[in-house]
Symmetry: C2
Subunit: 414 residues, 2 copies
């Protein structure tokens, strides 16, 4: 990610099909002021807070598990049909801290390992690495997860004296693959998790952005055995600048004194030693945004959902027009989200990205960082999120010229 940012900084004229960041065109700093005021009104009107309590809530040290946990629980109920106990929610400094807390809590010693559906988001594997927690890659494939491979890996790890604790995955429009796991496989995953006694760490930043039709229920909404820890990001649905995310962890775990305690409370204890609490000011902005839309982020993002849908269509259609079959350039057809994976007839390296930026002024993301043991890869990721439709067309024009030029160097023409 640092390399991508560095390249983007060096070639400011390059159009980005690389960035997975949300579109900025709808942003307005005045929204921050308005959302803050809305949340303060809520504290006064709905919670009966005095001015002193309002000030304290926003400006003083605060509750480790956060101050918008109840509004997030309502969002999960309204948008995802989840029956979330607010006390099982820890508001975190983005998804990233949520995952870090979860992994730190699950890792007791060197025998604890993480499984991750591959290709996997680099923030997830990076957090595990920082905690000296080995990551065992589980095959993804066209269905989003190869459940036989998952079981094989769980049993192989146990056979080697290790403890496979959890499997990290993005069921909805994964980063980078764009793939959505179908409903029957979701049920099968939950069966496996229960039977094999592992947790599923469900990361869901893109679920609100399907290409068409219905959204699928999250793993957590289908979870009857507390097998799923749900990791929420608000970066794509509120603002990345709040750095607010959350973990919903309703598992009961031993408290070390013969009783049991929520996993969320364990996470909070760890959090108190890493960031103390998530900025209540930033939480207040998120709270205000939720309140403005009856706690529905689906409603709050109606305009964004249309924008991303059109972008993804433009990306797919644009590829089809520029690389008509038969052609050695192919790509997948995600049902939503931001990403498309493109296969090309040459090896995709960081150096090639730099050349694409320099000579063709277009950025994309090599796929190898999303694999733990990178061999030579002939794949890359395109994203539709950062550019408006015309920008996508212009970027694809440049991308097509780049791909043809690079392929021609190997004598490949079509």
């Amino acid at each position: 990610m640092n390399f991508l940012n560095e390249i983007a900084g060096r070639y400011p004229g390059a159009l980005s099909l690389a960035a997975g960041a949300p579109y900025e065109g709808f942003y307005d700093v005045e929204d921050v002021h308005r959302c803050l005021r809305r949340f303060c009104e809520h504290l006064r009107a709905d919670r009966g807070y005095s001015e002193e309590q309002v000030r304290r809530t926003l400006l003083q040290y605060g509750r480790t598990k956060g101050i918008v946990h109840d509004l997030i629980a309502r969002h999960l109920s309204v948008d995802e049909g989840m029956d979330a106990d607010p006390e099982s929610i820890v508001v975190t400094v983005g998804f990233q801290e949520g995952l870090f807390l979860t992994l730190r809590t699950l890792r007791r010693d060197a025998r604890d390992v993480l499984l991750a559906v591959t290709p996997a988001y680099v923030g997830a594997t990076g957090a595990a690495r920082l905690l000296d927690m080995p990551v065992h890659p589980v095959a993804g494939g066209p269905g989003g997860v190869d459940t036989d491979d998952l079981v094989r890996h769980i049993r192989a790890a146990r056979g080697a004296g290790l403890r496979p604790r959890a499997c990290y995955l993005v069921p909805d429009f994964a980063n980078p693959s764009g793939v959505r796991i179908p409903l029957d496989l979701r049920h099968e995953l939950l069966d496996i998790a229960r039977r094999e006694d592992i947790l599923l760490l469900e990361d869901n930043p893109y679920g609100l952005f399907p290409l068409k039709g219905e959204r699928l229920p999250t793993l957590k909404a289908l979870d009857t055995a507390r097998s799923v820890v749900y990791l929420g990001s608000l970066s794509k649905t509120v603002f990345p600048g709040t750095r607010v995310g959350y973990v919903m962890a309703d598992q009961l775990v031993a408290d070390g004194a013969g009783g049991s305690v929520r996993l969320a409370d364990h996470l909070a204890r760890v959090k108190s030693m890493i960031t103390v609490n998530t900025s209540p000011l930033a939480q207040a902005v998120v709270g205000g945004r939720l309140l403005e839309h009856g706690c529905s982020l689906e409603r709050a993002n109606a305009r964004e959902a249309v924008f991303y849908r059109r972008g993804l269509e433009r990306l797919s259609d644009g590829l089809a027009r520029r690389f008509p079959a038969p052609c050695p350039v192919t790509w997948n057809a995600p049902d939503g989200g931001f990403f498309v994976v493109v296969s090309v007839p040459f090896e995709v390296t960081d150096a090639l990205l730099e050349r694409s930026a320099r000579e063709h002024r277009v950025l994309w993301t090599p796929l190898h960082p999303f694999y733990d043991s990178p061999g030579p890869m002939r794949q890359l990721r395109l994203s539709c999120s950062a550019l408006p439709p015309d920008g996508i067309d212009e970027a694809l024009d440049r991308f097509a010229v780049f791909v043809r030029a690079r392929a021609a160097e190997d004598g490949i023409r079509w």
Copy 2:
């Protein structure tokens, strides 16, 4: 800390001489709006940003090392006489994340240990524990640090095959001891650090609040050999609710490829896997506050400094009036900050705190959590920061009744 918060929650009528949190009486939510606008103006006027760039800076993902690093560097120059390279500063989610990043970076394996001047802030020892990094306690004593004991511990650790990497300390008005390390000992500490090849982790949340006279130069301001990593908190000088702090780490370390890189850049790499970046919205509030006062937090906190000075005087004078010598209750006389340590003729336990809250409606902090291996302790910490002067008097009245009642149970009267 959790136990303290729980007790405070259960006895809302209790007056708190326990909380080390800053005084809330000067807070105003409108300050947040004003500081945000001020920072946006700065981006437009001083950095020449377009509206699009302003929006992006506040609301989008951002620079891992932060967006107010330059303003913090100016603050360190204006208020502390430090010549800080902005690129050596990482803006963090409070002091706590800054320390966590530093310790994670210093810890390579089980042989790396931390030294900490004792009694030590629980957030520091807690972070080390979370990283499985043993903490070797160095005696504090009336001068704030026993340098002979420090050298002894460094050599003993090395003799045992361990790597003492750094010593954590609060040179100015430490938590909980209130003690300030005098200038000659500061120079001696820097000599030891250079000679023995360890880092000093200087935590400075209270330095702007001396009781009288001049402030002393920070260790970092005296550091000519890059022996000091400076950990900044803004919770006491801006708002805790921003959760913004920073690390200044100008050391050069090997980059693994034969070159060298700033320690700050190592910290940033770790940060990218824990919190990605510190909320730019929260940073903008801090930035606005700094800009309002020419980047001087000393000027920004002129009113607060007077308030805390009066509070500390009221606390010391109030103790003297209520426990005139000769008396088995004694206390130290810090030169500033928030805290006084009181010695009492009975053992101070968590249960006793609960009783004090229930029967006498006054809160204080037992000292045993600030020691790594708690034996029975006859000391507690009083803080002047949360209450206005009249509240301190009322709380001390209750405290004196409590202490006399408890001592009388052991037949101790004076």
